[in-house]
Amino acid sequence: MKQLPIIFKREFTSFFATPLAYVFLLIFLVLSSVFTFYLSGFYESGQANLNPFFNFHPWLYLFLVPALAMRMWAEERKSGTIELLMTLPITRFESVVGKFLAAWVFAGIALLLTFPMVLTVNYLGDPDNGAILTGYLGSWLLVGAYLSVGSCMSALAKNQVIAFILTVSLCFLFVVSGFSLVLDVFNGWAPQWLLDVVASFSFLTRFQAISKGVIDVRDLLYFLSFITAWLMATAVVIDLKKAD
C-alpha cells in the first residue's frame, strides 16, 4: 500500500506531460456545455435541473473515457517500461489501482470543472441540489466503470488504437444492455432471469436511478464491484501478457 500514492502521483502528473489532459478537459467541457445548453433544449424545458446534462454523459464518456484509459498499460508494454515497473518492489495491486485512481481522479476533476452549470441552474431557478450532487456522484461512478474496462483492454492490447476500440465496444454493450431493443433480442426464447441479468448489467438504468437523486446501496455496490472485477481482470491479463 505504501507505493500506491507514488504510482498515483507519477501517473497523474504524466497526464499533464502531454497535451492529452488539456485536450480531454477542453473537449469534455465544450461538449457538455454544447449538449446541455443547445441540443437538449435546456432553456425551453423551463425546469431548473441538470438532467439534460447528466443524461448525455453515458454517451459522451463512451468516446472520451476510453481515450483517457487506452495508454494506461499499452504504453508501458510498448515502451518496455513495464519491465522496469514489474521489477521494482511494487505489488500488482498497487500498480493497477494506482494507475486507475490517477485516471479516475483526473476525470473527477474534469467533472468538477463543470460547476458553472450548477451555478447557472441555481441562478435560473430553484433546483434540487441534492439530486445534482447524486448526479455528479453517479456520473463519476460511471466514469470509473468505463475506466476499469479501459484499463483491462489497455493491458490486453499492445496497440492503443485497438485498446480504444475494444473499450468503446464493450462499454457500448454495457450501456445499451438495458434498452428494450437489446432485451427484445432475448425476449421470447430466453428465460426471464437471463433477461433480468442482462438488464441489471446496464450502466444506464443504474446511472439514471442515481442521478435522479435516489441512492440505492445496490446501485453503488454494482458500480464498485464492477470496477473491482475489471481491475482484477487487469492484473490477471498483465501477468499473462506482460512479456509479449
Partner: protein
Amino acid sequence: MIKVTHLTKRFVQQVAVDDLSFTIEPGEVVGFLGPNGAGKSTTMKMLTGFLQPCEGNVSICGFDIGKQTLQAQRLIGYLPEGAPCYGDMSVGDFLSFIGQVRGYRGKELKQRVARAIALVELERVVEQNIDTLSKGFKRRVGLAQAVMHDPKVLILDEPTDGLDPNQKHQVRKLIKSLAVDRIVIISTHILEEVSALCTRAMVISHGRLLIDETPYALQSRSRYHQAVTILAEQPLDRQLLQALPGVMALEDNPLDGSITLLAKPGEVIFPAVNQLIHAQGWQVRELEVERGRLDEVFRSLTRGDAA
C-alpha cells in the same frame, strides 16, 4: 548469494532457457556471453522476477523470487535490455520517482538522487525530458536508476551498449567499485569487457550454459593462447622458428608482414623465441605475447549457433 536451479523457460516457438543451474557468491562479477537470442536477457528477466520460469527456482539472498518477490526485488538493481525509462518525465523527476519507490524520502531522497546523477554524470541533462535524450544518456539514466539504492544484487543487461569510450570506462569503473561484497551480473557483446570487468564468464548458447569459468581460462582456450607475434625488419628464418620446442605452427599476417607463432596447448614459448632472436641478432620492431583471442574462442564455442 544467488542460487539458480534447473531454470527453464519455453516460449511457443522455442526453448529460450534450458535447464540452467548456477550459484553466484557476493564479490563476483559475472559476465553473460552468447550469441543473439541465446537466452541471456530471458535469464535476467527470470532472475529479477519479471518472467515466471516454466521450471526451476531462483533464490536471491535466500528469498525465492517466485514466492517472496518483493523482498527479493528490494535487493536487486536492474537495468533491463534497452534501458526503458518513462520518456515523458525529466531525468530528475524520474530518478526521484525511483528513489521514492525505493523508500527514500525528504533529505535522503535528494541525496540519493544527487549521488546517482553524479555517478553517471547526468548533471547536464537533469531538467531534460528522457524522450529527448541521446541513446547513451538514456542508458546512463537506466544505470543511475539501477544503482540508486546500493543494491546487493546488480543485474545489468548490456550496460555499456551505446556509450562513448569515456563513458564505457566510467561505467566499468563504477561497476568495479560497486562490486565489492556485492553480486554483479552483466550481459555484453563486448568480449574485452568480460576480461576487463568480470571475475567469471558464463557462455550461454541456445539457452544452455556452455562454459562457466574465469575470463582468463576462457582466453586460454584460444589457439592464440601464449602465441608470440614478431614484426621484424628483415625476413626471418622460418625453419629455426618452427623448430623451437613448443611451437605448433606459424601464421603469416599479410597486413603488416608479421609472423605469429602458435604454442602447443600448455606450452610457453616466449622465452625460447626471445633467446633465438637474441642469438640470431634479428632486428625486431615489435614482439607480443597473447593471452588468447576471446572472439575466436567465442566463435568456436558457439559456431553455427547464432539464432
